[in-house]
């Protein structure tokens, strides 16, 4: 086996090592690269921006801890945006493995960093099993699906929820989704009840939502850490009070940038070795 062959079939652990170092370096020494905002994220931001104080948004925390690094930062940014805008947030989860914990953690963070009080600026309704069934039922009556909030307070007794009976009373629904849940929000809730639906999802899942966006079935897509960093940028640009708040996605983009470069390097390197070995074989 020639040296080029050996390099062509390089042990995957060497690639892993480069990726690991590429991820580690920007964490130790942040680079601080700029952020360019893409239209799918801008559209979601604009939709919330045009709301009036007192309007309501439903946010479904349909993800678990595994997707947290990508979806937590976008949840934080959206919650901050709604808070600055005076928009009421009704959080819930239809994802069984940790969705409700994600909702609790994000709303608690909002309360800690901006003083948004439970029951005033936001309410967490908790988790409901069945996904499609509660999605459909909320089109008629949310209280029938979530008779109490996550703290056990009856729906009717929460002043913030007065007048919020079903999707009609919300300006939009945002699903921070993993798995198939985002598609169900589009195919069931948007299609059957007409409410605007926006999707925040992992970078891996984002491409499939472009087809829905082009068909106007979702008004925008926030894809992965890149999308989250764009939302962080937009919130900071429009609201000076957001300056100084954590921007974990923007920091994460440094890591993503370097790892992308490592992968690009290996792809180009692999192709170089491929061309060299092919040339040698043809020469023989």
């Amino acid at each position: 086996m020639s040296w080029a062959d050996r390099l062509l079939f390089v042990d995957r652990r060497i690639i892993f090592l480069f990726v690991f170092v590429g991820a580690l370096v920007p964490i130790i020494a942040p680079i601080g690269l700029g952020v360019t905002v893409s239209p799918p994220v801008q559209q979601v931001f604009d939709r919330i921006e045009e709301m009036q104080p007192g309007d309501a948004v439903m946010i479904a925390f349909d993800y678990g801890p595994s997707d947290g690094p990508e979806l937590d930062p976008m949840a934080n940014s959206i919650l901050r945006h709604c808070h600055f805008r005076g928009v009421k947030v009704v959080g819930l989860s239809l994802f069984p493995l940790g969705g409700v914990d994600m909702a609790i953690a994000r709303m608690r963070q909002l309360a800690d960093e901006l003083g948004a009080a439970d029951g005033v600026g936001w309410v967490n309704l908790g988790y409901k099993d069945g996904a499609q069934a509660p999605m459909k039922a909320m089109g008629e009556n949310i209280a029938s699906v979530f008779p109490t909030d996550a703290n056990g307070v009856p729906y009717e007794e929460i002043a913030m929820l007065e007048g919020l009976r079903n999707y009609n009373n919300f300006e939009m629904a945002i699903s921070l989704a993993t798995s198939i849940l985002g598609e169900w929000w589009i195919n069931l809730v948007n299609a059957q009840f007409g409410i605007d639906v926006a999707i925040g999802t992992t970078a891996v899942s984002a491409p499939k939502y472009y087809a829905y966006m082009e068909a106007k079935q979702t008004l925008g897509v926030i894809g992965g850490m890149k999308g989250a960093s764009e939302y962080e940028e937009l919130v900071e640009r429009h609201y000076p009070q957001a300056k100084g708040l954590s921007r974990t996605a923007t920091m994460g983009m440094d890591v993503q940038s370097i790892v992308h470069l490592v992968i690009i390097f290996f792809i180009l390197f692999g192709n170089l070795m491929f061309i060299v070995t092919r040339g040698k074989k043809e020469a023989k």
Partner: protein, 212 residues
């Protein structure tokens, strides 16, 4: 009868939602469809018991046989018992003094990091798979490689530094070629799923009862 009743149930359960989609009848929707949804949740919950029994049996057999990796089976059974006990008897969430109940503690500090770790492994696997897959073997593979490079550069801030148009080109690739390919596959797959459903509805194919 042993065969006919399940087939008949399957036909009814699959036809009624289709009827309800076109005919807004309250009886079918409220009495039948909503009941079917509820039954599904109940059946799935009880099926979980079946799964748990299977998991315990398989791991006990492994330990008895001293099969390869039987030590892991002990870990599974112990952690399963512990988490079940914490969940059933140990309380959940925060105590009054702000400390966490064992179940929540395990969830936050064991389960969550393990989940994030598994997902983050994707970055490593994507790197090794890309290294193998993206080769300029022919014209199509070269186009694929170029598309991948555009997206990878366009989705990071560095793309803007190279040229301000790079993110726009990446967005164009996502919006048009990507969407076109996705739609082609989605339409085909949806028709395939619909055809499969018709076969199940008319009872030609019955994988749910052991007949493929």
């Amino acid at each position: 009868m042993k065969r006919q009743i399940p087939i008949m149930l399957a036909i009814i359960a699959s036809v009624c939602p289709v009827i309800a989609f076109f005919f807004p009848d309250r009886w079918i929707n409220e009495w039948f469809n909503q009941r079917l949804d509820a039954w599904m949740v109940i059946i799935a919950s009880f099926a979980l018991l079946l799964g748990i029994v299977s998991m315990i049996q398989v791991n006990i057999h492994k330990i008895r046989r001293r099969a390869r990796g039987w030590g892991f089976s002990i870990i599974i059974l112990v952690t399963f018992t512990l988490m079940a006990a914490f969940g059933l008897f140990g309380g959940q969430g925060e105590r009054a003094d702000g400390s966490l109940y064992p179940f929540t503690w395990m969830f936050q500090f064991v389960f969550s990091p393990l989940q994030a770790t598994m997902f983050s492994l994707l970055a490593f696997y994507v790197a090794s798979a890309s290294y193998r897959a993206f080769r300029v073997r022919n014209v199509e593979a070269t186009l694929l490689l170029i598309g991948a490079l555009i997206i990878m550069v366009g989705r990071i801030p560095l793309g803007t530094l190279i040229h301000p148009l790079v993110p726009d080109i990446a967005e164009w690739v996502m919006k048009f070629p990507n969407t076109a390919a996705q739609r082609g596959i989605i339409i085909g797959a949806a028709l395939g799923a619909a055809s499969m459903s018709v076969r199940v509805m008319v009872g030609i194919e019955r994988p749910y009862m052991g007949k493929s």
